[in-house]
């Protein structure tokens, strides 16, 4: 249940973020027991660099508080879609938060929106869409890969999000989005290798009056093909963009100041050595390597008069 709304206390079975440091955080389930690989019921123990944790002990604890591990402290946090994007088990390439943010805003999603997504992939984007459209909206998400569909459906259930999402196995490039969704959607999102094949089915799904579409593609050739396909289908206001985020390492630095004026006069050689001066300053350093490309976002409007 832990992805739905804001919770104070950890309830049995919920997913919990265990946060040690900025690079060490994990997601685990607050359950006393779990099934071993052999299918035997065993105690649910989570191994961390600071020692092991009996996950059942977390039940009833308050989110945002500190817990003691053998070799240090950890914090327990309520999961968010952003944490999930960083921690989910990858079944596919996924979309990350800077692109996700732009997608949500440019599709103009709100707590009443009906959204169609394909493919579901690893459900990274889906979690963020659901946060934005609940409680009155709904996400219909499609993938033609049966196992991915099953895993995603199960994750939504464990995360307490099932009521806001319908996951279906379907090849949207050959079969479209189904009769039931015709005239239902406010927005459509595509992350497919050949989105232009699915595009032909998109114009039927929008509510009367139209809606917005976004397509995410890593390659520029895909974007070109998609843009001409969509223009032919009557889409308007094509906008293609890319968003890249860089994070800074903020550091306090100290720089010694050389006193060279002293050299102009012949006396007091000693003071030159002793009087070291420093300049202290704060600076932010961009990382040596940073994301240089994720994908192109193409946004369009589909409009027809009622």
């Amino acid at each position: 249940m832990s992805f739905n709304g804001y919770k104070d206390l950890i309830v049995e079975g919920e997913s919990v973020i265990l946060y040690l440091t900025i690079n060490q955080f994990y997601i685990l389930e607050a359950k006393t027991t779990t099934l071993s690989k052999k299918g035997v019921v065993v105690q649910n123990i989570f191994q961390t660099p600071y020692g092991s944790l009996a996950c059942g002990d977390l039940i009833g604890k308050k989110y945002g508080t500190k817990i003691q591990l053998k070799k240090g402290w950890a914090y327990i946090l309520q999961p968010t879609p952003e944490f999930w994007t960083e921690l989910l088990p990858h079944r596919t390439q996924i979309i990350y938060t800077p692109d996700i943010s732009m997608i949500l805003l440019c599709l103009e999603l709100k707590p009443t929106s009906i959204v169609i997504e394909s493919g579901t992939g690893s459900g990274s984007l889906s979690h963020a869409i659901i946060r934005k459209i609940k409680p009155s909206g709904h996400l219909y998400t499609f993938d033609f890969h049966e196992t991915r569909v099953d895993i995603a459906r199960n994750e939504f259930k464990e995360h307490g999000l099932s009521q806001y999402v319908t996951v279906q196995t379907r090849d949207v490039c050959t079969d479209g989005f189904g009769k039931d969704l015709e005239g239902k959607a406010d927005s459509v999102f595509l992350d497919l290798p050949q989105p232009w094949l699915a595009a032909t089915f998109t114009s039927q799904v929008f509510k009367r009056g139209g809606g917005r579409l976004c397509s995410f593609s890593p390659c520029v050739e895909q974007v070109q093909k998609m843009c001409s396909a969509l223009t032919n289908l009557g889409y308007q206001e094509i906008q293609t963009m890319e968003v890249l985020q860089s994070q800074f390492a903020i550091q306090k630095k100290k720089m010694s100041i050389l006193n060279l004026d002293m050299l102009k006069t012949s006396n007091n050689k000693e003071t030159v050595k002793n009087e070291k001066e420093f300049s202290n300053f704060i600076t932010s350093v961009a990382p040596n390597t940073l994301p240089g490309h994720t994908g192109y976002l193409t946004l369009l409007l589909f409009h027809q008069h009622m």
Binding site: K62, I76, L77, P111, Q224, H303, H305
Partner: protein, 408 residues
């Protein structure tokens, strides 16, 4: 959503890439570039309709709208024949156009559609046919921009307004670019429920509008919108025309006044005048006339709002967003005690340095983890067959600091 354009609606008027927010009045006009346009003819028509700007007979500067029924006339591409292989024979001089500006103006007065004007310009240009296809297209774009006289009427959305304000003048929204806004909304983890705090020192109402859209209609979420002036900026908020029940869940309070109320309780008798610590920016303000008679019996509105906000603050809040002109450290110090553990703080600034200071402040004095400072690179692309490339101009965004509150 109602499709018909009505008097009283906030509309976005779009002319080529330029957009302007406008409140539609009966017999009102709007100034678009050099056009002073009477808007009455769009009333009763539908959103997304396209109108031609037509000169009012016998008046130089006044224009009126005429609905375009056949859109294909507008968007039909001009047919261009003959293009040169390269630009080697073209001299950069202004005499390539054989029509005089008087002739061009006369043509405009004769109500030719802009495509016709551009076609005339082309046939009277000595060099057009020697230009390459690429430069021909550029020429057409440039000229149709100058002479394009069509507008489209749109309903405001957060996306359209964010782009509009940024294009008009980033200062109107403290330099918050659309990608910055999008990330403020995700990193704050704001949802349709809970209580949220915004301190905004002036984004023309865009921030409160965007957060209230995320909170949504018929939900339980509330926003305490703190501002530094007597009245908050709210054009963008009003333009979204949220239903009353949703509007009411945005509680607008003065930062000083609500904090004083929180720590010192209700102001005493005869003391009930809105504190005036900082005079607000005069732009975009709707001042409420204080009703002298009612004031004596009932508490003034601002005080009711303060009390409601204080009640919510006592219970703790589920996100804090700060988009401030002022230095963020003291603002964070004043507001963050209300933030519940495991909840997110997001601070935007056009400058990096104040956020660097805030970073160390959060790390050393306060209880936050996952504190991050980031910025974005955003690029738009022209996508056309054989002519796909990044757009020639780029913009700058600002900086975001995010962190998660913990309890020691």
């Amino acid at each position: 959503m109602e499709e018909t354009i009505k008097v009283g609606d906030y509309i976005i008027v779009q002319r080529q890439n330029y957009t302007k927010l406008h409140k539609l009045k009966g017999h009102g006009t709007i100034l678009l570039g050099s056009f002073n346009i009477e808007m009455d003819n769009c009333i009763g028509e539908r959103y997304f309709d396209t109108f031609q700007i037509k000169n009012v007979p016998n008046s130089k500067r006044n224009y009126t709208l005429e609905k375009i029924e056949n859109l294909s006339l507008v968007s039909s591409n001009l047919n261009v024949e003959e293009s040169g292989n390269d630009n080697r024979n073209i001299e950069a001089d202004d005499n390539n156009q054989t029509m005089s500006s008087e002739e061009i103006n006369k043509m405009k007065d004769e109500e030719l559609s802009s495509n016709n004007i551009v076609e005339k310009l082309i046939s009277n240009s000595k060099t057009f046919s020697t230009k390459t296809g690429f430069s021909q297209e550029k020429y057409i774009k440039k000229k149709s921009k100058k002479y394009c006289e069509y507008i489209q009427i749109r309903r405001p959305s957060i996306r359209l307004m964010a782009q509009m304000f940024y294009r008009q003048d980033p200062a109107k929204i403290l330099g918050i670019r659309i990608d910055d806004l999008s990330q403020i909304l995700t990193y704050s983890n704001i949802q349709s429920e809970g209580t949220h705090v915004l301190y905004d020192s002036g984004t023309s109402g865009l921030m409160s509008a965007a957060l209230m859209e995320t909170i949504g209609p018929n939900t339980t979420g509330k926003l305490i919108h703190m501002h530094p002036g007597n009245e908050c900026q709210k054009v963008a908020f009003l333009a979204m025309e949220y239903p009353e029940e949703q509007r009411k869940r945005c509680i607008n309070v003065n930062l000083y006044s609500v904090l004083r109320q929180f720590y010192q309780g209700n102001p005493g008798e005869g003391d009930s005048i809105e504190p005036n610590e900082q005079s607000s920016n005069a732009e975009n303000q709707v001042t409420e006339e204080p009703d002298a008679k009612r004031r004596k019996v009932e508490r003034p509105n601002w005080q009711v709002d303060n009390e409601e906000a204080c009640e919510l603050l006592k219970k703790g809040v589920h996100s804090i967003v700060i988009t401030a002109k002022e230095h963020p450290v003291n603002i964070v110090d004043a507001l963050e005690p209300f933030l519940l553990p495991s909840r997110n703080l997001v601070v935007f600034s056009t400058f990096k340095e104040p956020l660097e200071e805030l970073y160390f402040h959060l790390k050393t004095k306060l209880n936050y983890l996952a504190v991050k400072l980031s910025t974005n690179f955003m690029r738009n692309y022209q996508v056309l067959p054989e002519r796909t490339h990044p757009e020639v101009n780029m913009t700058n965004g600002g900086y975001l600091l995010t962190g998660i509150k913990i309890e020691q």
